[in-house]
């Protein structure tokens, strides 16, 4: 069974017949003919035999991995940010920001390449910019550099602004589970307030696996489902 999480920049593919290790490859390198059995993400409807939406996959994957009745899970990808909040084992709130949260992850990645920066070596700043989207936030970086900040300082201020914006979007929980590509950005993770647990990039794939497991055992319950 071929499972796929089609991200805007990277796709995560898992062939369940071949083991537990997913493959990550740039979405633009994916053959046009590629067809998954069950998928989520960008164009999943066209590139798979069956698809579920990303928030559903995130909630199911988070619930399967975190195994707690109450938690907040924030997913920061290239193109958008999403969160789900569970209370008593049920989804109590959720959000998906593809407009104002647009391109945050993508911009952070572009900046490291452009300025040749390693985010593991940049300490989290104590102040930053107020950033609502990746594109608009760029002008703050140029302004800061013109005002005398180093490139690393300016980009760090930008990353901090993005992290705070994402944190507010998830309604500022004391404890936060983080998923998506930005889990592997130490500066971004360090800029998030509160206790942060990183879950990595495969939470949506875990959501697809949870969906498969439910198909195989229809009596088991997915989050929110109650026996009738």
């Amino acid at each position: 069974m071929l499972l796929a999480d089609f991200g805007t920049s990277y796709s995560k593919i898992l062939d369940t017949a071949k083991g537990d290790t997913p493959l990550i490859l740039p979405t633009k390198e994916l053959p046009r003919s590629f067809m998954a059995d069950l998928a989520t993400g960008h164009n999943a409807g066209r590139r798979s035999r069956r698809s579920i939406n990303e928030l559903t996959a995130l909630a199911r994957g988070g619930y399967a991995l975190i195994q707690r009745p109450d938690f907040v899970l924030l997913d920061c990808g290239s193109r958008d940010i999403k969160f789900v909040r569970f209370q008593d084992g049920k989804v109590a709130d959720m959000g998906w920001n593809a407009e104002c949260g647009a391109s945050m992850g993508f911009t952070i990645e572009l900046l490291s390449t452009y300025y040749n920066l390693d985010y593991a070596e940049i300490p989290p700043p104590t102040t930053g910019f107020s950033v609502t989207c990746g594109v608009l936030g760029m002008s703050h970086i140029f302004d800061a550099i013109i005002a005398g900040a180093s490139e690393a300082e300016a980009v760090a201020g930008f990353v901090r602004g993005i992290a705070l914006n994402a944190y507010r979007f998830a309604h500022e929980p004391e404890e936060l589970y983080l998923s998506g590509g930005l889990c592997s950005n130490p500066l971004f993770v360090a800029c998030l307030p509160g206790r942060v647990h990183t879950l990595g990039r495969f939470v949506l794939l875990a959501g697809l696996q949870a969906t498969l497991a439910q198909d195989a055992h229809p009596d088991s319950l997915l989050p929110g489902q109650t026996k009738s």
Binding site: N53, E54, T56, V91, D93, M94, A98, P223, G224
Partner: protein, 251 residues
């Protein structure tokens, strides 16, 4: 010859009765009536404004109206009050402001019926044009709830199952008591509910407030048309609440 009368919001019953008696035709200006880009209204009304009222202006620019009744009281909103000034300046026909405070309840059988939500809300908005009592419709057991005004784009409604009960101002509309705040506050805490408001509408504060107090609810807002993330949010919320969304129209 019958005249074409534009209505905005829910005018008082006495006005509807008069229009019907005179044999005039009613056109609901709150709903899209013509195919034209909404940005044509930008010279008259800000782009960052309730899309329903921008639609009112767009319809008014194109339709051969003879008269407009616009409700501007507690049964509608201040935004409509200001739009009534714009219409009065823009149109060469009388623009009559009303303040509907009717209290006679007609009931809300469609709100609790089993029927595709889009059809249900269409029939409710259409019912405003008649002063006759509602035909009885059997109620159904609700699987989820939709709270709010009829959206600018009814496409938002097609994800909901037929057993969705309708609350909020749409319920007040069917009851013909658009200023009934108590009815507007009514919710069902035993079913998952989606609290909808138009972007830039004051009701978004009430939607968020009621959603926060409800044990299983989300608040969403939408401007001209629902974005794919708004649709995905509704779909995921229903799915994760154990309700099977209607995915026929999912992009």
């Amino acid at each position: 010859m019958s005249r074409l009368i534009g209505i905005v919001g829910v005018p008082p019953l006495a006005v509807i009765e008069k229009i019907n008696r005179d044999g005039d035709r009613i056109v609901d200006l709150d709903e899209p009536q013509i195919r034209a880009p909404i940005d044509q209204t930008a010279a008259h009304i800000p782009r960052v404004y309730c899309a329903i009222l921008r639609t009112v202006v767009l319809n008014s620019l194109h339709l051969p109206l003879d008269l407009v009744y616009i409700d501007v009281g507690p049964g509608k909103c201040d935004c409509a009050l200001h739009v009534s000034d714009i219409l009065a300046d823009l149109l060469r026909v009388p623009v009559i402001r009303t303040r509907n405070q009717d209290t006679r309840s007609f009931g809300y059988p469609l709100c609790t019926s089993r029927m595709p939500l889009m059809e249900k809300v269409s029939r409710i908005t259409k019912s405003v044009q008649s002063a006759a009592p509602h035909a009885p419709v059997p109620p159904c057991q609700p699987s989820c709830g939709f709270w709010g005004v009829p959206p600018r784009d009814f496409a938002l409604l097609d994800l909901f199952p037929e057993t969705t009960h309708v609350f909020g101002w749409t319920r007040c509309m069917e009851n013909k008591t658009p200023a009934d705040l108590e009815l507007e506050h009514q919710v069902d805490p035993t079913i998952p509910m989606v609290f909808f408001s138009q972007s830039f509408c004051a009701k978004s504060a009430l939607a968020k407030h009621l959603a926060d107090k409800h044990p299983r609810a989300i608040a969403i807002d939408c401007d001209v048309t629902p974005s794919s993330s708004t649709r995905a949010k509704i779909e995921a919320f229903l799915e994760l609440s154990g309700v099977v969304p209607d995915r026929r129209h999912t992009p």
